[in-house]
């Protein structure tokens, strides 16, 4: 489908990928401020956007410093989810036996609330970064496995047969046919997983930590410092957005041929 792109400066600006969500964000902030004024919401229940921005502006060195442990735990947990999730999915997709034993238990374990068992991780692994990594890993694991299984199972069996018929070894066929076909699904799972990994890291910090954005959150709740609490939430949301965008960029590099990566092409006369 071809689309003529207008030459006007404003609409060109509007078409830039980041502008629209930014405008929407501004709209939400304005609506938030208006609601507080209209409904006379007191500051100890919901802080005014101006106060939150003030905290972000004034305290950004400390907030940035506290973001590193959380980011580190998130990324490590996410990488573990990917590293374990994709092979597990391969096993499940490849073997009916493995699937019938493992998959139901995996679904069962997903419903166990991680926040309830997080204190146990601290007992077993201490107060360092490891329990947070485990927490992030456990939250991010399931979406990766489910999407990857879906991806591996949706490979066209005729393509596989064709490749095998051309004397492709199992490994070659896997690398050339199965894996690329499964990639789009795997990446969609990875994108969900990375945002959940942020949650997992924060849960781990709530339960046992001296540092990190989860610690800032916990501390601000105890002192009724709602602007800082909301500032911490904003940072966590931003962390999720940035990581999601990074995975998205990697996806563009790895599966540029997929239909979801196509952009509207412009035909000029």
């Amino acid at each position: 489908m071809a689309e003529l792109q207008s030459r006007g400066g404003v609409s060109k600006a509007l078409n830039a990928a980041w502008v629209r969500p930014f405008l929407f964000l501004i709209f939400i902030v304005v609506a938030w401020d208006l609601s507080i004024r209209l409904f006379k919401i007191p500051p100890y229940q919901i802080p005014a956007p101006a106060d939150v921005v003030a905290v972000l502006w004034q305290d950004w060195p400390e907030l940035l410093r506290q973001s590193w442990p959380t980011t580190y735990a998130t990324i490590c947990g996410f990488l573990l989810s990917a590293a374990f999730g994709i092979p597990v999915a391969m096993l499940i997709a490849g073997s009916r036996t493995v699937e019938s034993y493992v998959y139901p238990l995996l679904v069962f374990s997903q419903s166990v609330p991680k926040i309830a068992i997080a204190p146990l991780f601290v007992v077993w692994f201490g107060f360092g970064i490891f329990p947070k990594v485990i927490s992030a890993f456990l939250l991010g694991f399931f979406p990766v496995v489910v999407s990857a299984v879906q991806g591996f199972k949706s490979v066209d069996p005729d393509m596989v047969d064709l490749a095998r018929a051309m004397q492709g070894s199992r490994f070659h066929v896997f690398r050339a046919v199965n894996l690329p076909h499964a990639m789009p699904a795997i990446f969609s799972g990875l994108k969900v997983s990375v945002t959940l990994a942020v949650v997992g890291a924060v849960v781990g910090e709530f339960v046992g930590s001296n540092s990190g954005i989860g610690y800032v959150l916990q501390r601000s709740i105890g002192t009724f410092d709602l602007p800082t609490m909301f500032a911490a939430l904003v940072i966590l949301a931003l962390l999720g957005v940035v990581l999601f965008w990074i995975v998205d960029r990697i996806e563009r590099l790895v599966v540029p041929w997929h239909v979801s990566q196509r952009e509207d092409i412009i035909l000029t006369a």
Partner: protein, 332 residues
Amino acid sequence: MKRWMAALASALVLTAFAALPARAADKVVLMLNWYVYGEHAPLYYGKAKGIYAAEGIDLEIQEGRGSAATTQAVAAKTANFGYVDVPTMMRAAIKGAPVIATGVLLQTSPMSVMGLAEKNIRKPEDIKGKTVAITPADSMTQIWPLFLKKTGLKESDFTTVAGDGQTKLNAVINGQADLLLGYVMDQSMKIKDAIGKEVYPIKFADYGINMVSSGIVANTEYVKANADVVKRFMTATTKAVEAAEKDPKGAAQSILDANPKGGKIDTLTQGFELTIPLYRTTETKAKRPFQVTDQNMADSVNLMVEYGGLDAKAKENPKAFYTNEYLPKGGS
């Protein structure tokens, strides 16, 4: 025939009287500061013994998730009354939360740094070189720097690990930490339940930290609109505390009757017995519970402003945080 008619008539009259609407009791929700432990015994005892019902109050007790959260609930009118750490309530009140303490029960602080008795940590000097488990920004952690100052300790003298309430307990139970900051009657009893070992608390009050602690708080608008209910509630609670003081085991048992998983009878009783001495100071020895002195409250506010991070403008009017006017007078 006449007798039959008389019987029918009296039956009808009696039914008519029975059908008259009885004076309905006022439904009141009290939210606690935490999950139930020994300190809460008088409240459950009062409910079990009908002391609240006698004042026309139908009491529902809900467990809370920290004094901060319960204060927020009372401010938002989700709960009518809260049983919370009053200094924490002051922090919310100074930021504009419409809450006031209608009775301060613990006039001496239950805060302590405690560890297993077998570790022999009895004096502040023994804390040097040990590991202390804290929960960031909870009521004890905010006063901890003052305790360190009063006992000549520095943050660098020991290691600190942070976690939520459950993690603190696990840390001491499993040896990851030597001490935790807790209430003298709460975590000590939970550790005793878990591993059967005695816990020795170093009380903040023994080192010059004179601060009030738990009390009943209510929303200021609710108090204005329902002054009579508040009066009856405080009367009933005062009576409940007095009755529980005389029957600690019965009081502890009432917790288990309402909440069978609330703990074990021996440690709940012991926890409650540890709480009773905190009800009064030397000035209020002969008085009924809740009757806190203005001096005690002013001292607590000053301490909170100096070390608890409370806004300095709180000093201008400490009386804004509490009122004794809803308490019953004299003897029952």
